[in-house]
């Protein structure tokens, strides 16, 4: 384990998951239900957050794609980990362990470590205190109630997301209280598409829920989590049910997010279309896949009815990374087959969370003049 901090001439490569250190005070239950505490509803009482820190796993896992975090330079602002103090966990699997077991152990270890760190600060006075009321069952005033529909990647080992400790695969859309996310009800086990990843850290700080809470003109109605099924009929069913759930709850509009690329685009497009079809205005967050030059069509599966889209940037555009003194997570960057310390040109797709589908980042696209 080693620490790396913002501003250092350093780079983390082969980044897997990242977790924000959080713990519960005495008698308030646990965090990460289903992993470190019983799988029972969370989101009540006091949660202690070690803001500005992250526990990060980095190293080789099968099906994981090359991902990079820069701790200094322009690219540092493209990843949430570029501005946190990171405890980086590197690992070496036992020779007789299966990769599935390595993945499971790594996740449990990472979560435990995050809790241990937060617990170390339980006695300290908090720098800030935030009160997060539960999402109201009915409209509180005349502001529109907006749902955050959150698609979770569900494509098997190394591409799976866990809810209360179990894979979301096979589930139907589920309404949860946004405060359940605060206590780690959603944990990532998804290592594909680094630029389009939603790590545990970002689920703990759900950007759409936070932005709706911060809005004076809209109210956060609730969070609806959905799987991204591999089967087309299931995709259509999940999308139609998510739209109907919004209707049943009386939500006025929805913001829909995804995780991953390609198939995940079909899921988000089907959902915004299903919502618009039953009269609920919907906005989707999309990443563009416009080619290196930015001249290709940006979407492979665009919606046909919904029109309001946020762009989280062009996945294929390349950017320059400078040489760094320190590299963590691995010796080489396989994507470019270079030493991990070297200067290189790399697509935004490889920068951890650069085009974050949950809306964390500021990256977007404009037409060139």
């Amino acid at each position: 384990m080693s620490w790396v901090s913002p501003g250092e001439s350093a780079r983390i490569v082969k980044v897997l998951d990242a977790v924000e250190p959080r713990a519960k005070g005495d008698g308030a239950g646990g965090v990460f239900p289903g992993f470190l505490s019983p799988a029972r509803p969370v989101g009540l009482g006091t949660t202690h957050v070690l803001r500005g820190a992250a526990v990060v796993a980095a190293g080789y896992l099968p099906r994981a794609q090359e991902s990079v975090v820069e701790m200094s330079g322009e690219a540092a602002q493209l990843s949430p980990l570029g501005s946190t103090h990171n405890l980086v966990v590197e690992f070496e699997p036992s020779s007789d362990a299966s990769w599935e077991d390595v993945d499971t152990a790594l996740r449990r270890g990472l979560l435990k470590l995050a809790v241990r760190l937060a617990e170390a600060a339980l006695e300290a006075d908090p720098t800030a205190v935030e009160e997060l009321p539960a999402a109201p069952a009915q409209a509180q005033d005349d502001r529109p109630r907006v749902a955050a529909i959150t698609n979770l990647q569900t494509q098997g080992t190394f591409k799976d997301v866990f809810v209360y400790g179990s894979s979301m695969a096979g589930s139907l859309p589920t309404l949860i209280d946004p405060n359940e996310l605060e206590d780690g009800a959603v944990v990532s086990g998804q290592y594909g598409h680094p630029g389009l990843k939603n790590p545990t850290y970002i689920h703990q700080n759900h950007p759409v829920a936070a932005a709706l809470r911060a809005s004076e003109e809209a109210e956060l109605g609730g969070v609806i989590i959905c799987p991204e099924p591999v089967d087309q009929a299931q995709k259509e069913l999940v999308s139609a049910l998510a739209a109907r759930l919004c209707k049943t709850c009386g939500f006025d509009a929805a913001i829909v997010t995804k995780e991953g690329g390609g198939n995940a685009d079909a899921d988000i497009a089907l959902k915004v279309d299903a919502l618009e079809e039953i009269g609920i205005p919907a906005v989707g967050l999309f990443a563009e896949m416009a080619g290196r030059e930015g001249t290709a069509p940006p979407l492979v599966a665009p919606p046909t009815k919904a029109t309001a889209m946020v762009s989280t940037g062009n996945y294929d555009e390349e950017l320059e990374l400078g040489e760094v003194e320190r590299a963590l997570g691995g010796e080489r960057i396989d994507l470019r087959d270079v030493d991990a310390h070297e200067a290189m040109e790399i697509p935004h797709a490889a920068i951890y969370c650069a085009l974050n589908p949950l809306g964390w980042g500021r990256l977007t696209c404009e037409d060139a003049t």
């Binding site: 089967d231 198939n263 492979v300 599966a301």
Partner: protein, 60 residues
């Protein structure tokens, strides 16, 4: 997506299979799919058309 002749299959990870079937049934399913593909190739279409292995062709 603009492809003129499309045969509908059962799941992303296995376009010409279905692991839920036993091996003989799966082989028959694959044969049905490819027979349908050959039928599609021999059919005149004017725009994207979906050929359902269990049904009739219809516009995409």
């Amino acid at each position: 997506m603009g492809a003129p002749r499309i045969v509908r299959t059962r799941g992303i990870p296995f376009p010409t299979g279905d692991p839920s079937l036993d091996s003989e049934e799966e082989r028959e399913w694959r044969r049905q799919l490819i027979d349908k593909a050959l039928e599609a190739l021999s059919t005149s279409v004017s725009g994207p058309t979906v050929f359902d292995p269990a049904g009739e062709a219809q516009p995409a």
